[in-house]
């Protein structure tokens, strides 16, 4: 089994980057590998709760994220500095099972992987 980390670094709306990263992540999860995900930079905006995207004719990305543990993606990491720089606190996140990690821990996390998929 390979360790595969998805890195999602873009905001949930404005481009399809985050949406299509999530689609690839869910496809990966059913493939039976050790699939993990790291949200950093503007990617942390995907995790903010109470997203109302109906007014821009988009499905809510935040509403899809709680499905991750159901797909056996249980290692969900969030970069702490990215949250802090954007004024987002842990209790505003759609998922309560995330691990909030600092830059040094991100560095260690990347080093542990067999493959990185960057979105």
């Amino acid at each position: 089994m390979k360790k595969i980390l998805f890195i999602s670094r873009h905001s949930p709306y404005g481009t399809s980057q985050a949406r299509e990263a999530l689609e690839a992540l869910l496809a990966a999860a059913v493939y039976g590998q050790d699939t993990q995900v790291l949200f950093m930079d503007d990617g942390v905006f995907q995790l903010v709760n109470n997203q109302n995207s109906a007014t821009i004719d988009q499905k809510s990305l935040g509403a899809s994220l709680p499905a991750l543990p159901l797909y056996d993606v249980e290692k969900i990491y969030v970069h702490s500095e990215s949250l802090r720089n954007r004024g987002i606190s842990a209790n505003e996140l759609v998922l309560d099972s995330v691990q909030i990690i600092d830059s040094q821990a991100v560095s260690r996390l990347l080093a542990q992987q067999d493959q990185l998929l960057s979105f």
Binding site: K2, I4, R9, S16, Q17, E20, E23, A24, A27, A28, V30, Y31, Q33, D114, Q115, L116, L117, S118, F119
Partner: protein, 138 residues
């Protein structure tokens, strides 16, 4: 030097950007040509997101600009590289093979010869089977 590398690695590439709009797919093509030249192998090139536009048979760039679909096709022909286009990303962007054009009752298909449509599972298969998976254009 082909064949003399003891540390030859198996690569796959993930292309996420459209040709012409971004440099990424041209860079990926150069990277692919370079790694093959150095004796490494290329397991699969997977086109995702706007990268699916690299597979359009209908692209007609001016003669003094590089024709990326043609260059990908040449690479695939010469080195037996699999050029796989994500079917979900392709259908929504209007890149269809004959079977999908029939299924959706479209007037024509436009997937360039040498490219095949496939599922996201094939991206993961590439990640599992390759020593290195390199992303371009995210």
């Amino acid at each position: 030097m082909r064949g003399f590398f003891i540390d030859a690695m198996k690569f796959s590439l993930l292309i996420q950007a459209a040709p012409h709009s971004a440099q990424a797919s041209a860079t990926a093509l150069s990277f692919a040509e370079a790694l093959l030249k150095q004796g490494h192998s290329l397991h699969r090139v997977f086109f995702y997101r706007d990268g699916v536009h690299n597979a359009s048979e209908l692209a007609a760039p001016p003669q003094d600009e590089t024709n990326l679909p043609h260059r990908w096709q040449a690479l695939a022909r010469e080195h037996q590289v699999e050029l796989m286009v994500c079917i979900a990303a392709a259908l929504k962007r209007g890149i269809l093979d004959e079977a999908e054009a029939r299924r959706y009752q479209k007037a024509s298909a436009n997937l360039a010869p040498g490219f095949v449509l496939g599922g996201l599972g094939q991206l993961l298969e590439a990640a599992v089977e390759s020593d290195r998976l390199i992303t371009f254009g995210n």
